[in-house]
């Protein structure tokens, strides 16, 4: 039972601290800081548990660490949706913003101009080291695109014909 308690306490405290300091972190540190915070929270929780209750067996501590980092990664995926707007949700919010009168089709161009998604995503990929940008040409420089091969294989198994739909 202690492994479960350590996992929950470490995850909740690590995520809570991250959420509290998120606004103050420079953009490139917002996701990178998370594993360090979770690991620190885990070690502190593990130490306190050992002092107050009893030390965890190595296998239990390892399992608790894996689950803590897994929950942290799940939170990171949610965080990507918080840090970066989804085009579909941005459109849905814009329509909702106009209330019962509805969004005039004529306002679509203005909405597009206020939401430069392509620039945002290219900037993020360059910042993450996945792309290099010399001003005229973009080049693949990271490793993430290798995941596309695995992803394509999975989507083909599901019966899809291509990976992404734009």
């Amino acid at each position: 039972m202690n492994a479960l308690v350590v996992t929950l306490l470490a995850t909740l405290s690590g995520v809570a601290i991250h959420a509290m300091i998120l606004r103050r972190l420079p953009a490139r540190w917002r996701l990178i800081a998370l594993p360090g915070l979770l690991l620190t929270a885990f070690l502190v929780t593990l130490g306190v548990t050992a002092l107050v209750v009893s030390p965890l067996a190595f296998a239990d501590a390892a399992a608790a660490l894996v689950v803590t980092l897994s929950l942290g990664l799940a939170y990171a995926f949610l965080l990507v949706g918080v840090l970066y707007d989804s085009p579909t949700l941005a459109l849905a919010k814009e329509i909702t913003r106009h209330g019962v009168a509805g969004m005039p089709m004529a306002g679509f161009d203005d909405f597009v101009a206020r939401h430069p998604f392509l620039r945002s995503r290219v900037t993020a990929l360059v910042a993450a080291g996945e792309l290099s940008d010399d001003g005229t040409e973009l080049r693949l420089t990271g490793k993430a695109f290798h995941l596309l091969t695995v992803g394509d294989a999975y989507l083909r198994l599901r019966g899809h014909t291509s990976s992404a739909t734009g």
Partner: protein
């Protein structure tokens, strides 16, 4: 540690169930649901069978691990299907690993990609057009948009990445 093995088994079952459901023509959300529930049942069964003496702790850890892994996989699959970032990487990979900015911008202008999404929402009935005005008809989409709007406001202090602080 038994809980992790149970969760890993559950994930394998979830993936197989998702693939089978999708190939049998199930709608996307239904296929995900079938995968989620099948995998969760397998996780609980494996956890109970392997460690009946400490069932609660094992099942608790297994359920947390399974939930986290399933959510991560769901996000990865969703990203492969519709993420702009993944699409851009795929496009550059298909172009031989490099692409001119102007070529990419012509192919994926903000107007093109947002129009594509609007057309998709209109064709699925999530958005309806009446008298030259757009209305959101999907309560689910409304709730998800409101949920992320609230999270953005709480964590970032603004409702959009394009909104000035």
């Amino acid at each position: 540690m038994v809980g992790l093995f149970a969760a890993a088994l559950g994930i394998v079952v979830a993936l197989v169930a998702d693939i089978v459901a999708a190939r049998r023509g199930a709608a996307r959300v239904l296929a995900y649901g079938v995968g989620l529930l099948s995998g969760f049942a397998a996780t609980l069964a494996a956890g109970l069978a392997a460690a009946p003496a400490e069932a609660l702790a094992t099942l608790g850890l297994a359920a947390l691990a399974y939930g986290a892994w399933w959510f991560i996989l769901l996000n990865l699959v969703q990203a492969l299907e519709s993420s702009l970032r993944v699409r851009l990487l795929g496009e550059i990979r298909a172009a031989g690993g490099r692409i001119r900015r102007d070529v990419l911008e012509a192919r994926y202008s903000d107007a093109v990609l947002l129009r594509l999404r609007l057309d998709r929402l209109l064709s699925h009935g999530a958005v309806v057009e009446r008298d030259g005005r757009l209305f959101l008809a999907s309560r689910g989409l409304m709730l998800i948009a409101a949920f992320f709007g609230l999270l953005k406001k709480l964590l970032m202090g603004r409702r959009s990445e394009f909104e000035a602080l």
